[in-house]
């Protein structure tokens, strides 16, 4: 089954100079409308100056709490959300302003798996039609016989039997539905799959199965994943690199081990400290966080984290810290990484 699925684009080795995906200063601002004439009274800066590189065959996770902009960021990269500013390059091509017709070939190589396997599959379509749909839409369906075999192979690839294609989504469990979503995403042989909380709705024993599947597929097909998640233990397991977001900005970006073994940004430390560890003998070594994330409509001045930060100095309330390369990571904090 692999020869049909094997991906000619996937063998491109990861190099420093040619990332598969390059995001530079990405911003997505939503207007706040108020009053009887719905005049624009301000902007929610959902994503504000996000930059990172993702190489072929690599998993980059974006982690953060609700409202930090991680999903908006992913949707802008998939061009399902129009960026306000910045640049998105995919496989060397600037896709920031591509019109929808010219976006099509890009979308073939960039697919999404969504969080909720109950609402992201059309309940009136047979599973085989769901998996075949991207091929039909992109005019790659070919002869009915070939298509049927192809769909069967895709289902087998995600651990379902080809006969299951005759059933409807409601006849499957949550984990199986997520496998169907993954099969659909794989149909076009993409280079990049954006996983937006793809395992968050699943029970832990099923979640482990899907994580194994994602890692297997990455190894076999050379896929890159942009993995959006709030779950630190999942991120720790699946990622090569991790970006931590807070209120629309990346506060720390590092290799997995550097980030988890030696978190430097006060928010990263707090986030790791708050995550409950499945070990009654292990207390967390970092300071617990006070308060809650501020409202994105009315963010604090300077560093958005300063009102909750145990290390804040006066400069933090006035200057927005830039993401700075310090040693093995990028970090936005004037205390930990002074200019």
């Amino acid at each position: 089954m692999t020869e049909i699925i094997s991906n000619p684009n996937a063998v491109t080795p990861a190099t420093e100079t040619h990332p598969l995906l390059r995001v530079e200063n990405l911003a997505v601002h939503f207007p706040i409308r108020a009053g009887p004439l719905a005049t624009v009274s301000g902007h929610v800066k959902a994503v504000d100056g996000v930059s990172f590189d993702l190489h072929a065959g690599e998993t980059l996770s974006i982690v953060g709490e609700s409202g930090c902009g991680k999903t908006t960021c992913a949707m802008a990269i998939a061009r399902l959300q129009t960026p306000t500013d910045g640049r998105i390059s995919f496989a060397g091509q600037d896709i920031t302003d591509l019109e929808s017709r010219r976006l099509r070939p890009v979308r073939r190589r960039m697919q999404i798996v969504f969080q909720d396997p109950f609402s992201s599959l059309n309940p009136r379509m047979k599973v085989s039609d769901i998996v075949a749909e991207p091929l039909v839409v992109h005019g790659l369906a070919g002869e009915p016989d070939v298509l049927r075999r192809r769909v069967g192979d895709l289902l087998a690839l995600v651990g379902l039997s080809p006969e299951m294609g005759r059933r409807y989504p409601h006849q499957f469990s949550g984990g199986q539905r997520q496998r169907i979503s993954i099969a659909r995403a794989l149909a076009l042989e993409p280079d990049l799959i954006i996983c937006d909380e793809a395992v968050s709705a699943l029970d832990v024993s099923i979640q482990a199965q899907i994580l194994n599947l994602l890692m297997d597929l990455q190894q076999r097909l050379g896929l890159a994943y942009l993995f959006i998640s709030h779950d630190l233990s999942v991120v720790r397991h699946i990622s090569h690199k991790v970006a931590v977001m807070y209120l629309g900005r990346i506060v720390e970006l590092a290799d997995r081990d550097a980030l988890f073994n030696d978190p430097q940004h006060p928010y990263t430390q707090a986030l790791l400290a708050a995550a409950p560890v499945p070990d009654p003998d292990r207390a967390s070594p970092y300071l617990p966080l006070k308060g809650e994330a501020p409202n994105a409509r009315n963010p604090p001045s300077g560093c958005p984290f300063h009102p909750r930060c145990p290390h804040a100095i006066s400069q933090c309330s006035t200057d927005v810290p830039a993401l700075r390369q310090v040693g093995n990571r990028s970090i936005a904090c004037p205390v930990v990484a002074p200019a």
Partner: protein, 322 residues
């Protein structure tokens, strides 16, 4: 510590005929004052239904078909609705998962927090509101007197859940049942809410039954744990014992499924094959047998009861291996 709540051989069925679908089968556990018992399991394991049955909140179609729920020496199952109502919200209170839907959007926070105080203690609205303000202060809501006049939509998710805790604590209950109290919350807020719940129950010397699917939360906050699968308890022990020395194949599988610090990053997780059975259509014998790597023919003969393994109340329901 003397036992406050003892649930014994509890079985719950849903459906027209009393034995239609058994969603909970012979569940036994107890909890003492000052103690936190976690009931952990995946969706459909019966953990929430067990919790609801303690409060007599099974609703239409659900009924207790066997067993007893002994609270402070009284079998709650034998009481009439009026007697249960005097206990519910007063001696036993409940915190639900969704702070968005379990608060009434049309009533002020003050009214909702003061209501149980007024009903169960018979004090005036004025006194009840004063006490409500003190409760909000105890759960660290800034400017509590002013906030009493606000509506739920003016509170964040974490603050709403703190309001729920304030309501649950209003009558200093002996037993608090919290059903996935932090599942809808962000992790930094979850830590705040769970720490608060733990501190306050300790102060009141209450018992806490924590229903959760999160083995991390269990490890950090529970004294005792009961692991549920397909409507039955498969293993129970103190939290330390369970994590150091898990015995039941399902517990072992769950622990191995959690990614994180103790597993090599990017290694294959030892996932449990298959998915949980439909409780309406359970396999013969042990319901975990079809997914169990240690299963043999003996496992399909009968559903194994809990038996002691080692000391300190460590028990598991498995005949397959030792």
């Amino acid at each position: 510590m003397s036992t406050l709540l003892r649930v014994e051989d509890l079985s719950i069925a849903f459906g027209e005929a009393p034995d239609d679908v058994r969603v909970v089968e012979s569940v036994t556990f107890d909890v003492a004052r000052g103690e936190t018992l976690a009931i952990v399991g995946e969706s459909g394991s019966g953990k929430s239904v067990t919790a609801l049955s303690i409060l007599g909140l099974l609703g239409h179609g659900g009924s207790i078909v066997d067993g007893s729920i002994c609270f402070g020496g009284v079998d709650l199952h034998t009481l009439d609705e009026a007697a249960v109502r005097r206990i519910r919200g007063n001696e036993i209170s409940m915190i639900f998962q969704e702070p968005m839907t379990s608060l009434n959007p049309a009533l002020t926070i003050g009214k909702q927090v003061a209501e149980p105080i007024r009903i169960h203690r018979g004090v005036s609205w004025k006194e009840a509101l004063e006490e409500a303000a003190q409760l909000l202060e105890r759960v660290s809501i800034p400017d509590p007197r002013q906030r009493l006049k606000d509506y739920p939509h003016q509170f964040s998710g974490g603050m709403r859940q703190r309001v729920m805790i304030a309501m649950a604590l209003a009558c200093s209950p002996a037993l608090i049942i919290a059903d996935e109290p932090t599942t809808a919350l962000d992790v930094t807020v979850q830590a705040q809410v769970l720490n608060l719940l733990k501190t306050l129950t300790r102060e009141m010397n209450s018992a806490l039954v924590l229903i959760t699917h999160d083995l991390g939360v269990v490890a950090q906050y529970a004294d005792k744990v009961a692991v549920m699968y397909a409507g039955g308890i498969v293993e129970t022990a103190t939290a330390q014992e369970l994590y150091r020395n898990p015995k039941h194949p399902y517990t072992l599988g769950l622990m191995a499924s959690i990614p994180g610090a103790s597993v090599n990053p990017r290694s294959r997780l030892k996932a449990i094959d298959g998915s949980p059975p439909d409780v309406a259509n359970l396999p013969d014998g042990c319901p975990f047998a079809p997914r169990c790597q240690f299963a043999h023919e003996g496992c399909t003969a009968f559903r194994p009861p809990l038996r002691a393994v080692g000391g300190g109340g460590h028990m598991m329901a498995c005949v397959g291996y030792d």
